[in-house]
């Protein structure tokens, strides 16, 4: 019972943190676009410091995914976290729309192409995931007080540098919350961004595995299971596919 209560607290924290993040993004885009990178970064840092000890303070499905590959969260929790983040983001999009009278949605820069946007989004999401894993999951940085600032800073940097290229979302929940409340139909660019973020998240995990091998003894059992299952399924599929193909023996003399 008490455990269930704590579990709800964690999911509530993820929803709340994502709510304030998305509300700040959406309101500042209307009222203070030039200051938005700072505003978004510092509200994120504050929310990470407020909620880090409760839920880990992801507020971002790409980071929850990275932590899953790292072995730091179970799959069921990952899915619950992601759902909570999405709920917080959508509610924030609606409330911010009520407060400013506008909704916004990320879009690609007018002089950029899809490859450039993908690269920019993937690289900075990778930096975000790498910094997140380094400052929150390493034995060597345990108990450090800079984790919130270090993680949030990457978001500020991206908001300054690639907002005009990809939109600088870095966060599937932010993207979904903004797009869903702005426009229930145009989800095409959202999917492109989410793909870039997923690639970046995996790249961040891989970079962490490369540079800090002693901190990263093994991949999550469940993630390993997924890879293994995928490998088996791929092998079975290949066998099935092979069985459907004309056998070598069909065209020549029997070997048995």
């Amino acid at each position: 019972m008490s455990d269930l209560r704590n579990r709800f607290g964690q999911l509530g924290m993820e929803a709340l943190g994502t709510f304030f993040l998305v509300a700040t993004i959406s309101i500042s885009a209307t009222t203070a676009p030039a200051a938005a990178p700072i505003a978004v970064g510092v509200i994120l840092a504050s929310m990470i410091y407020a909620g880090g000890h409760v839920s880990g303070a992801h507020y971002n499905p790409a980071l929850t995914l990275a932590l899953f590959f790292r072995g730091g969260i179970a799959m069921a929790d990952m899915l619950l976290y992601m759902a909570s983040q999405l709920v917080g983001a959508v509610v924030a999009g609606l409330v911010a729309g009520l407060i400013t009278g506008h909704t916004i949605a990320p879009k690609m820069g007018p002089t950029s192409n899809h490859l450039q946007a993908f690269l920019a989004e993937a690289i900075f999401t990778g930096a975000l995931a790498f910094v997140f894993l380094s400052v929150t999951t390493s034995e060597n940085t345990k108990g450090n007080p800079y984790f919130g600032a270090a993680i949030a800073s990457v978001v500020t940097v991206a908001a300054y540098t690639i907002a005009g290229i990809s939109g600088a979302v870095l966060n599937p929940a932010v993207g979904a919350g903004l797009v869903l409340t702005h426009n229930w139909l145009k989800v095409g660019y959202l999917l492109w961004l989410v793909a870039a973020q997923a690639v970046g998240s995996c790249a961040g995990v891989a970079a962490f595995w490369f540079v800090a091998p002693s901190d990263f003894e093994e991949v999550s059992e469940e993630a390993r299971g997924m890879f293994e299952a995928a490998r088996l399924r791929a092998r079975e599929g290949a066998q099935e596919a092979r069985s459907l193909l004309p056998q070598r023996g069909d065209a020549g003399p029997s070997q048995g």
Copy 2:
């Protein structure tokens, strides 16, 4: 005697911290409006670090109220803190007016309505109270060095994002200090802001209770007493009201 001396020191710290906060708000609004969110945030952070170990560094009646509900301050102290904060704010409003030759007062954005201003003010005051409780009253964040930056950051974010909507006050003492020194008559909007801040403060406490149940074992005895008294008074009032109403029995046959 020594205890009285320390008590005066605490109230002096609250007045001093609020003084520098309001002086910076008032002077920067005249001399550097674009930089005001940064200036206000960092002076607040510095004052929190300077006074945190003396008085707790609230400098804001909405936070003192939140701490009262949380059970961290007695009612008598709460009222003394609030009075000290108000004194500091009014003196600062006067001194800043002397330095710049102007006084300022918060006002609602020209394109916003009262509901939008209320929502914006309540949401960010809620974020402020939530972060304040999380980083200063939780066992899990005890001794952390980021409390000042995390709390002050919420003020910077609000100053950037909702200054053009509600005025981004978040602090009844700031509002009162500015309004009282600017204009002794127009207090209507001040009351609206204070109501929003009170709602936000309670919402922050509720959110903290929700996400961190293990840090929040019980509501302050005094706050509980207030609720209980209010409930009893409401029940008595209902009984009285019922006794004044025509009894069911009056219109029909006696049941006794």
Copy 3:
């Protein structure tokens, strides 16, 4: 011998820190005036973190004075520190002038009067001295990692808010370094600023004594001696002056 070597290191650190502070002030005033408050604040914070464990990282005669009243530094060291700070500031003024081809000097805002400039300068120097004492000399904040940011932030705030009123110097060495290299004659406004800074420094000490009595058991012996000597001299002077005045007895009958 080794002690002498360490002493030189401390004075070198004070000169070096003040050098970088003044060089940044002077260069940024020419190349990036809008960003100067941030640039000056962060170089100061970095220098405080680099030199805090060596010399205490004052880089400011007003703070060295405040520490002397607080009892944290002997008078001989205070004077050596101040001389080192002045040397660093003058060299920085010259080198910065070489790099940019300009020298600058603080001046009063065109719409301000001397009282306003004095008040602004004294209030923020007081805030600086108060924060400095609170975060570097209190038992309760010992070992904290935020001292550099908290102190430097006050300088950033002042640079934003009162640069257009008093010039926002807060530091006699900075004022002297800039004025001496800019103009060897016009030192009148410099003296006004230094007076304001001395008043602010004393006010910061007084505020610290008021709010944190348990951290401030007694005034420096030497400072107490100075006060005592001044009191004795004043009394002797009064006696002498009285002996020179026509005695009451002269105009009336002898009382003996």
Copy 4:
């Protein structure tokens, strides 16, 4: 084997950190020049916090050189670090060029001369090296959490104040990465900058040796060996040169 694996991780971290630093410099110069000093500083801070416990987080050959003189890194490691930094910087220059469609290169300010650029670059590289050594190699600051912010802040300050004078590079890998990807021919100014950075790096080491003698017991054995070898070679060269000169004895009576 495991040690080799960790060594690769360190070099990978240096390449990765320098990659994100240079990518942010190059992209922000095109998309957000006014915010570049903040963006560059905060990505550097985040990368220092992410990689400090892995490789020491230099991301800058001038700092690796300073650490070598300080005795903190062996010569072979120094050369591997520098190569890794250069690889990261060049790859970042190419990728950033792909994302923005532009490449950039540092250049001297139009109103500055070579001496001014040299001085500016050397002074701030010296500040960077001094702060780096003070906050990462001193016993007295061991375990501090502000090292990343203190180091990165110097870069932000330089980017604000001397970008219009020398280009504010402070980092041979950044200079080389940008220049090599922008223009494979014009390396003249790069060499001038690198010379200034080398001078600044040595000056930073010397300043650290001066102000913190107790933290700096001895110069690196290898660096001492280099100095000694240079001295011997110089003496031998002088002897050889002397032997080629007409002997004193040639023009006068023999002294034997």
